[in-house]
Amino acid sequence: MISPNTLVILAGTTALGICCGLVGALMLLRRRALLSDALAHATLPGVCIAFLLSGSRSTIVLGVGALISALIGAALVSWLPRFSRVRRDSATACILGILFGAGIALSAIIQRSGPGAAAAGLDSLLLGRAAGMLRSEAMLLGGCALVMSLLVLVLRKELLVSCFDPLFGRCSGQPTGALDLLQTALLAGTVVLALPAVGVVLTAALVVIPPAAARFWTDRFDSLLRISALLGAVSGMLGTAISSGHPELPAGPVIVLSATSFFTLSLLIAPKRGLIARKLRSSARKQQREVRRILHALLLASEQDLHSLSTDQIVAGSVSASPRALKQAIIDGFIERQGDRLQLKPLGSERARRARKSQEIWREWLTSEAAIDRDLIDLDEEDIEKLLPLELVRSLENSIELRKTTT
């Protein structure tokens, strides 16, 4: 039986996770991740001014103040590089510092001014107070998550172009300015909504980490958004669940820690882009190269009427193959061991010939082309068919044959 307050907080933080995940993915793709941190810090002067002007501690009033000041911050960030020599990332950092500093100064003035002063209320913006989430806040968050999901669904192609190639967007008649504004407004709105839950300092983390983690799992735009939203939501849920079981752990930081652990997990275990997968692939490739070298050495030997080589010659000599590669070659049925000598089997012989032919085609192609990509050099022969169109392979084969007959 979950207590009613925990339910409210769960709903709110899950919805927040979805919002942060979606808008964060867009920001990540547009390389504007720092902007979320800047906008989060930019909310502080707005909240202070709203309080000073209205004297009210109502979250709506303060929220509007936060939103306005975040939007001003965003406007300054895009305005500054356009009218001066300051680059965008420097502008973002400057605006962050200036606005946040102004906010701190204002909050110091407020705390001194006395009657009904909720200096404590403003202070809590820094770290968030998720435990006191109200039903109205959770509903607002839910509404925003819904709106954002709808927008992303409906405007999918416009957002894709806007993130990937805004110049193309402009040329094909998209209102790039309006789309930019929309995305910035969504970011500002998300940041403002995140303040009561996780606070200024951690909002940026929640916007940046889920999409960064999601990037490891997919190479497609739609999946990136979906996975990012999912990771954000699950971080919210997990963080709240853990925090509600431990009185010393406040919800905000635990949510961010959950997101971070998902990131670390993704970094390690993601199937194509994860570290472990990459390591396995590269050592598999290395092993295959060694197997090829073994076969090549044996083929050369057999063409010189030497039908077997000793194990030492293979392992130690110019071939320098590892014992593991040797074992692999035996398992694959390419070679067989006879005492301390190794012999090519028919399968192995065929494999070796094919490999040699592929190497020739590669060399032919590389010498006849100016542009050589570094990472194409050490590929298995299978890959040549993947990267070069069939007609090209045929024509290269022909030119090799031609050269062989004429020399």
Partner: protein
Amino acid sequence: MIKPAVEIHDLTVAYREKPVLWDIDVVIPEGSLCAIVGPNGAGKTTLLSSILGTIKPASGWLKIFDQPIEESEELIGFVPQRESVDWDFPVEVLDVVMMGTYRRLGWFRRPGKAQHDWAMECLEAVGMADLHRRQIGELSGGQQQRVFIARALAQDARLFLMDEPFAGVDAATEDAIRHVLEDLKRQGRTVILVHHDLQTIEQFFDHVLLLNLRLIASGPTMETFTRKNLLRTYGGRLTLLDEAAEAVRRIRTGGGGGGGS
């Protein structure tokens, strides 16, 4: 009468008070395959951007298919220089080409089978159809170039602008691009492209535009691509800069400039 695809009158474009294009007057006829030729910094890319409408002129006007550029809703297929694309972006070859179909789809409609098939056709035209599921970062330079050309094709436009499409590409890509250009010409579309290889101008292009801050000469390749004109384009740069500096000074002190509507 041959209809003009692009008409430019008295175009001057400045960047931070330095003139980049000066007093350009040219007509590019519809259905031509036109090369823009000139040394580095001559303003070739700027001219393309002006035609595209992304750069506003300091003076002068442009018309696209007889409509002033400010009012023109004409779709233009643009292939930029292969520079600052985010190659790590999670998008596949087919997705990029499909972007060319978005404008005709309009808001709120999702690309369907028709757009998918059309995009695949465009990929066929550049010889990249079997790589359509590849993430763009996994392509070679020439293949990336072809993907962007396919995207421009997918836009199904009347006018194509390309910025140095042949620069630094492999022979296969060069072939593919040449085929595309021939197809476009056969379909009666207009192609304007910035080209650096002077040897190949006469074989491909029926129109040429020699540019070095000012228009040196323009017209059918036979008559325009002469040794004399080439010397004027690539040589004698110093005098041109002097002229340009003098003209800027004139603008600053309030005299000169102006131009068309």
